[in-house]
């Protein structure tokens, strides 16, 4: 699935300081019935965004005008736990977000994000708190995520932290490539390997 290249992103951010946000909240199972990738933005955080009667919940950050248009989400610890549904990462991307920042991610969610063009940025817990505090003090707080230099910075104060990403995945994100391009190029090596499997 092609996605737009990611280099440097400067944006305000939606804060979601809740721990263990699971993929059933990000995209509830009843919205997984599509056979194409459509409408996942609409149902992103469906049950936290909307009341049962379909009216938006005014106090949920994704509905608040002061954060509208942000391309970054700052989430609580252990973000994306639960199911392997890539629909969760699609809904993040399709909602218009390109980066999720948290002090810890669930593994499968993190992989899925990288595969669909959403950059998961893991920061220290104190730095995550700093981000939450800054956003609370000023919803227009800008955060700069610099992939080539692997840094995340609070623009106003210049406070910064570096983050990890393996070089291969970084290269993919910078160029908008994905793994299938790579794997298809070494198909001969794969079929040779397969021929020697015991079953």
């Amino acid at each position: 699935m092609a996605y737009d290249k990611f280099e440097v992103l400067t944006s305000t951010a939606y804060p979601l300081p809740i721990e263990n946000v699971d993929t059933d909240q990000i995209i509830p199972a009843r919205f997984l019935k599509a056979t194409e990738r459509v409408d996942f933005d609409i149902n992103f955080f469906r049950d936290w965004r909307y009341n049962a009667d379909g009216t938006p919940k005014a106090d949920f950050p994704l509905n608040q005008e002061k954060y509208a248009g942000s391309k970054i989400l700052v989430g609580g610890r252990n973000f994306g736990s639960g199911s392997s549904r890539e629909h969760a990462a699609w809904s993040v991307y399709d909602f218009g977000l390109r980066c999720v920042i948290s002090s810890a991610f669930a593994d499968i969610f993190k992989n899925n994000c990288l595969n669909v063009g959403v950059l998961p940025v893991q920061v220290s817990a104190p730095f995550a708190d700093k981000l939450f505090n800054a956003i609370e003090a000023d919803p227009k707080t800008e955060i700069k995520v610099d992939l080539p230099n692997q840094t995340v910075t609070l623009v106003a104060t210049g406070e910064s932290e570096s983050f990890d990403i393996n070089l291969y995945k970084k290269d993919n994100m910078l160029n908008g490539f994905d793994d299938i391009d790579y794997l298809k190029n070494i198909e001969g090596e794969i079929t040779e390997f397969a021929a020697n499997r015991p079953f």
Binding site: N20, A29, L32, K33, A34, S81, S83, R85, D107, K184
Partner: protein
């Protein structure tokens, strides 16, 4: 050098190591179902790729299927559309397909082992996080996303960084009424939902050695709920006895050749793990969860802990109890329940139905409780009938439904209504997991059965002791 079981299986599947990147990791067996595969096939086709090894992928319909009247056309148009897409894609690409009503149909993680597709030392993936179930056979098995489903279809490989290795040892003897589900919920309550993030877990010690294959599957299934990529148990005679003679298991000379490999599959003495934990079987009680993640569990006789006494943020903890409409210090025993769900890839196997029946036999379902008993596969249904468990179920006032994921994720009609409280043998108690607004207590089939007959959360030991 002394190496771990995990190292042995992982390293033997690395096609190549990408410099400063992940491993190109070969996949022996791939399961697909209707929910996470359609977009992968679209991607495959839009790139003009074909399925590289159709005989290494297996399709079964389970997530979206009705659990009553499966002989009728599926009423929900969107579900029917997904089921059709699975069938069409499988047929088009030469992949075996077990659709609704097929004798081999059932939940993907139940039918894989039943049909001998799951083998020791294999690498197994599926677009479902509970793929970790297959680790019970000494396989490396884990859930993947749809992009990766497409990778496996087109190249039989995925790009994966090797997780760290953790060993969890549980030694001693389990007490009365303590099942594999309780062992897993106990471990998760100690590890929290993120304690094993970044790790692949090996379970070792007497408790797992003594367990049946069904029990081992329940434990490995729940590995993902503490954040682990997967869990595995070294194969032994029980493993070989279970797989021998199944439809897709190697036979004759192929079996002998495979056995040579399988016999190497254990952790060497002195091998080092990145993390190791020891627990004592005697400390484990029948468990129950009280919050909105599987780490929020405790012995069924205990009281809900205070926010200050648990790890993690106080606000998140209180939000969770608020959703459940519970309070710090509440006793779980005696709480009135509305629903009971026996099923899922965690506890939808024959052993789970035997356990449930051992409690409800000669008793009656409480009138106000709605119970959904959903076997994991048609083979489980057949065995239930062969053992006469269906009679016990019926006499106790329960109804046996048809196989599928059902209320585990509530994609079909089996949804727990908003506000209702359910004792469920499945794997997730997330907000709304079993239907918008539903409240879930995760527990073993024994706790579910005892609660179903009493109508309130019940310690199964009271009934087991009365039976004795």
């Amino acid at each position: 050098m002394a190496t771990t079981l995990f190292d042995k299986v992982w390293d033997s599947h690395v096609v190549r190591h990408v410099q400063d990147g992940p491993d190109v990791f070969f996949i022996d067996r791939h399961f697909i179902h209707e929910v996470t595969s359609p977009v992968a096939f679209l991607g495959l086709e839009s790139r003009g790729n074909s399925v590289l090894y159709p005989n290494r992928t297996f399709a079964t319909a389970d997530h979206n299927t009705p659990t009553m009247n499966q002989h009728l056309p599926v009423a929900d148009a969107l579900s029917a559309n997904q089921l059709n897409a699975l069938e069409r894609n499988a047929k088009k690409h030469g992949i075996s397909h077990w659709g609704l009503g097929d004798v081999n149909n059932g939940i993907v993680h139940v039918v894989g082992p039943e049909n001998g597709i799951t083998l020791p030392g294999a690498t197994i993936v599926c677009g479902d996080s509970h793929t970790s179930t297959h680790g019970a056979f000494g396989a490396i098995a884990f859930g993947i996303g749809t992009s990766e489903v497409e990778m496996v279809l087109s190249t039989q490989c995925i790009m994966q960084s090797k997780p760290k290795a953790m060993r969890i040892n549980v030694n001693g003897k389990l007490g009365l009424g303590v099942t594999p589900k309780d062992v897993a919920l106990y471990i998760i309550s100690k590890q929290t939902t993120s304690g094993a993030t970044g790790y692949f877990v090996e379970y070792a010690g007497d408790v797992f050695e003594d367990m049946t294959m069904e029990g081992r599957m329940t434990v490995c299934n729940l590995s993902i709920e503490m954040g682990a990529r997967g869990g595995m148990i070294a194969p032994d005679q029980k493993t070989y006895d279970y797989i021998a003679g199944r439809a897709q298991t190697p036979k004759g000379a192929d079996w002998d050749k495979a056995m040579k490999y399988w016999e190497t599959l254990s952790t060497d003495e002195g091998a080092e793990f990145d993390a190791e934990f020891n627990y004592d079987a005697a400390d484990i009680e029948p468990m129950i969860t009280y919050g909105t993640n599987p780490g929020m569990g405790m012995g069924v006789t205990k009281d809900i802990p205070t926010a200050e006494s648990v790890e993690g943020g106080v606000d998140t903890y209180r939000k969770s109890l608020g959703y459940m409409d519970f309070h710090e210090g509440d006793t779980m025993i005696g709480k009135k329940i509305d629903f009971v769900f026996l099923g899922s890839c965690t506890n939808g196997r024959i052993e789970d139905f035997r356990g449930f029946c051992s409690i409800v036999k000669g008793r009656k379902k409480a009138d106000h409780v709605t119970a959904w008993l959903v076997p994991g596969s048609h083979k489980v249904v057949d065995q239930i009938k062969a053992e006469g468990l269906d009679k016990i179920i019926e006499e106790a006032g329960f109804v046996l439904r048809e196989p599928g994921c059902s209320a585990c994720l509530a994609m079909n009609d089996d949804k727990i209504p908003a506000g209702k409280l359910s004792v469920s043998t499945s794997n997730r108690n997330f907000e709304g997991r079993q239907g918008p607004g539903s409240r879930t207590l995760l527990a073993s089939p024994l706790v579910a059965a005892a609660s179903a007959v009493e109508g309130v959360v019940t310690d199964p030991r009271t009934i087991l002791n009365a039976n004795a």
